[in-house]
């Protein structure tokens, strides 16, 4: 699955291939139809299609004479899921930040290190205001995927074709 995902991302790193995928998201098309809008030969489009086929993004029917190219929406969905997982992780973190912000005093505490001062060797204990709620982790309403894997913040994101607009609701 991860290998497939890598191949999908690599396949879509090329702008012409992304355009081909965008065209196929509307409907099946022959190689000739795909080549028409581009300033490339049918041969070049065929090469691009081979890469997309190897990634599992497109298939070509063996029986029909025209052999139209078909976009495999299922594989396409992988990327949507990847992006959505990344988004959910970020949202879960930011909900925790919401709680931290709600519990913060309006002014920095006197013992709080300022960004322009040397940091103390040891973290200073937080001094919550007596009447303020403390963040209570974990949040019951957090939409946390129950994944048995460390959810490392991943700064990287896949290139995604221009045509993909999130998860249909």
């Amino acid at each position: 699955m991860a290998d497939q995902l890598s191949r999908v991302f690599s396949a879509l790193a090329d702008p012409t291939r992304r355009d081909i995928v965008a065209r196929l998201s509307i409907g099946d098309a022959t190689v000739g139809e795909l080549a028409a809008p581009f300033d490339v030969t049918v041969q070049a489009v065929s090469k691009h299609l081979k890469v997309l086929e190897d990634a599992g993004l497109v298939t070509r029917s063996r029986d029909a004479q025209r052999r139209p190219v078909h976009l495999e929406a299922e594989v396409f969905d992988l990327m949507t899921k990847w992006l959505e997982r990344y988004r959910r992780r970020a949202e879960a973190r930011y909900r925790r930040l919401d709680d931290v912000l709600a519990a913060m005093p309006d002014e920095p505490q006197p013992d709080e290190p300022q960004p322009d001062e040397p940091q103390p060797d040891e973290p200073q204990p937080d001094e919550p205001q007596p009447d303020e709620p403390q963040p209570d982790e974990p949040q019951p309403d957090e939409p946390q995927p129950d994944e048995p894997q460390p959810d490392e913040p991943q700064p990287d994101a896949p290139p995604v074709p221009k045509t993909q607009e999130g998860t249909p609701s």
């Binding site: 949507t80 992006l83 920095p108 940091q119 490392e152 896949p158 290139p159």
Partner: protein, 161 residues
């Protein structure tokens, strides 16, 4: 640009560069949001992997400073570290990010705070990875279960809506 939107975190992935941009609004002024990113005690309360305990070894959020934290679960430790390249109070944090399990990989992260008035702030976090390949490493990096199992869980989750 491709995006998924909701009332929550908004995420955009650039089709031509290994960039992801996340936008989120907070019910707090920029000064507070900035402090929640710079004070290690506050950072420890929210940053880092979900559902894991964090230990912040270093958090010198000043221009030229550096950071390191360790996420822990079931005796396993996952270290993350980087440098603060440029820090401008209440406005900007430019930093690097590396998962120590992949020490050659590095991401450049830029956090911009916008004052929306009425005590609200918009945070825009842009992350640039050094390669498309590096992204796939991050995808699998640090996982203590098979990726397929992770995806199976994800599918269940998404199926539940």
């Amino acid at each position: 640009m491709t995006s998924t939107t909701s009332r929550e975190t908004r995420i955009v992935a650039d089709p031509d560069l290994p960039i992801v941009r996340i936008t989120r609004e907070f019910d707090a002024p920029p000064e507070k949001v900035f402090r929640a990113h710079t004070d290690p005690d506050l950072v420890a309360q929210w940053m880092g992997p979900n559902g894991m305990e964090n230990r912040i070894d270093e958090w010198d959020c000043r221009t030229g400073g550096s950071w390191r934290y360790v996420a822990m679960r079931d005796g396993e430790e996952y270290g993350f570290r980087g440098c603060f390249h440029e820090v401008r109070p209440d406005e900007l944090i430019v930093q690097t990010f590396t998962f120590e399990g992949m020490p050659d990989g590095v991401a450049l992260e830029k956090l911009v705070l916008e004052d929306l008035g009425n005590g609200r702030t918009r945070l825009t976090a842009t992350s640039l990875v050094d390669s498309f390949e590096g992204r796939d490493g991050f995808l699998a990096g640090g996982m203590d279960v098979g990726v397929n199992e992770g995806y199976a869980k994800l599918d269940e989750l998404l199926a539940r809506g």
